[in-house]
């Protein structure tokens, strides 16, 4: 009987956890949108297309999609010098916007899930941001 209960309730709990996670992601994306509009939008633009030759795109950006940890690093500590995004070189500077780790997680979740980007329901958490350390 106990086993039966477990069999029945197991998937229920499991799916509830998944739903919680989806909900957490949706809420983080919503908060991240505000962070984006305040700190990122003037250079990376409203639909993440960037500015040709000056600021790289975030929409369908291989840099963001393939190496999200590099994107977290850039948001946390700023970025200077050459990078390649979708085959195009950019040589500019992004000042660190001075965001808290939870805000960085939110804005990462927003940019990873906007303008055709998808993180496949994976969420960037505050802890993941905290773990990224500055290279001296």
């Amino acid at each position: 009987m106990k086993k039966l209960l477990f069999l029945i309730l197991g998937p229920v709990f499991y799916s509830a956890t998944l739903a919680d996670q989806d909900d957490a992601l949706a809420k983080s994306i919503e908060r991240g949108k505000l962070v984006y509009s305040e700190n990122c939008i003037t250079c990376h633009m409203g639909t993440g297309e960037g500015v040709p030759a000056s600021f790289p795109p975030l929409a369908k950006s291989d840099y963001l999609i393939k190496t999200p940890e590099k994107a977290i690093y850039a948001v946390k500590f700023g970025l200077i010098g050459k990078i390649k995004v979708n085959g195009i070189d950019y040589d500019n500077m992004m000042p660190a916007p001075g965001l808290d780790n939870n805000e960085i997680a939110d804005v990462m979740n927003y940019i990873q899930n906007s303008w055709g980007n998808s993180s496949d329901k994976k969420i960037v958490t505050e802890k993941m941001v905290e773990a990224v350390e500055e290279k001296k």
């Binding site: 509009s37 305040e38 700190n39 939008i41 003037t42 250079c43 633009m45 409203g46 639909t47 500015v51 000056s54 200077i80 500019n92 500077m93 000042p95 916007p97 001075g98 965001l99």
Partner: protein, 393 residues
């Protein structure tokens, strides 16, 4: 059929000739402009050199020239630095108050009093976090102005002479430029802190230029001193994020530039009591591509001298009044954060009659100043450098 071919053969030279003619016409009209630029008396980028006078700075925002030749430099993170003989002094200057270093906030402008040699006052603007008893959002901030004197590596006689009200919990639009008019007044530009409607609200300091006595007292002849509910320090309003402000060397008129929305950066002449229109009129659209206003002009609202589309993100400008740049005297040099360049604007009276891009790729420009030596100094955020532009030879 044969006739047709003959016709084509006959007409082909005519067509080619036409193409050549129009091409040469196009060339002529282009060369008209080029010729003007290359006329022998014209001062161009080719006659100028760029030398690094300081490096190793972390996000520098502004610089001031001390009488002994040293440079004072603000770093947005909250440090005031000295550059001596082209070398950044490793010891920072103490006495800078707590700054709100987030987004666009931090330690901002620095300006020496015009009579610095006798009174020693240094003015500094910064994003100031909300203190007990101040109006506004908890955890918020707004732009403040302080003055102090420099003794060795320490600020002394520190006085906060102004704080913009209310504090706002947002990371954007602090403005922050300081200008003296040599008549005993100091002007400070203030951004609208991301709340555009408050640029039009005279009971708040957001999106304003304020005018103070040099000790922070409010002049009794400010335009809104007698307006009920209005803040008496306000000199002009309807600004968005004015990060550049300078005074015309001969007319004494104050010129300001501000970051507009997408495609709406502006150059303005700032005058007493006037409304510069943000967000009721604008040449730009919002960054999410939505329309802010369908109007670019309305009665009672000031027009910019020029606007930039696309936005260049102007930051820092100076009038040229130097024997080293004779042909540019009276003109403006404006820095661009976004396109990493300088723009030379030809000024005739209250109009800009020409625009020329200089030093494309120089870096993210935060400040442009003419030094006491008549050379032009540019503060570069991206490379953490200050460079000097001077004539070759």
């Amino acid at each position: 059929m044969k006739n047709n071919i003959t016709l084509l053969n006959k007409s082909l030279p005519v067509v080619l000739c036409g193409i050549l003619l129009s091409a040469s016409l196009a060339l002529m009209s282009n060369s008209g402009i080029t010729e003007d630029k290359n006329s022998p008396k014209k001062l161009t980028e080719a006659n100028l050199k760029v030398d690094t006078v300081a490096s190793g700075l972390k996000m520098p925002w502004a610089t001031g020239f001390l009488p002994n030749g040293d440079l004072l430099v603000t770093e947005r993170g909250g440090k005031l630095r000295l550059v001596k003989n082209g070398v950044l002094d490793p010891q920072e200057i103490s006495g800078i108050p707590e700054v709100y270093y987030k987004g666009q906030g931090g330690l901002l402008d620095v300006a020496l009093h015009p009579d610095y040699k006798t009174n020693g006052w240094i003015y500094i603007s910064y994003s100031s976090p909300k203190k007990e008893g101040e109006e506004g959002d908890d955890g918020g901030a707004n732009t403040a102005l302080m003055r102090a004197k420099l003794k060795d590596h320490a600020l002394t006689d520190i006085q906060q002479i102004f704080k913009a009200i209310p504090n706002v919990k947002a990371n954007v639009h602090f403005g922050g430029r300081i200008v003296f008019d040599k008549k005993g007044y100091v002007f400070l530009s203030l951004g609208e802190r991301g709340q555009k409607e408050n640029s039009q609200n005279l009971s708040k300091d957001q999106g304003k230029v304020v005018r103070l006595h040099e000790d922070g007292k409010i002049p009794t002849d400010n335009p809104f001193v007698k307006t009920e509910g209005a803040r008496p320090e306000i000199w002009s309003y309807g600004h968005r994020n004015p990060q550049g402000m300078t005074i015309h060397p001969t007319t004494g008129v104050i010129w300001e530039h501000e970051h507009g929305p997408q495609g709406g950066d502006e150059l303005n002449i700032v005058e007493k009591g006037k409304n510069y229109g943000w967000p009721l009129i604008t040449y730009g659209i919002d960054y999410d591509n939505s329309i802010i206003s369908k109007d670019t002009a309305r009665a009672g609202l000031e027009q910019p001298v020029i606007f930039w589309r696309p936005s260049i993100a102007p930051c820092g400008m100076t009038f040229v009044t130097s024997p080293k740049f004779k042909e540019w005297n009276g003109d403006l040099i404006v820095g661009s954060l976004k396109f990493m360049q300088l723009q030379h604007l030809t000024v005739k009276g209250n109009k800009v009659t020409g625009k020329e891009i200089l030093f494309q790729g120089i870096g993210r420009v935060r400040d442009v100043r003419q030094g006491p030596d008549g050379n032009i100094y540019v503060v570069l955020e991206s490379s953490g450098k200050i460079v000097k532009i001077s004539p070759k030879s």
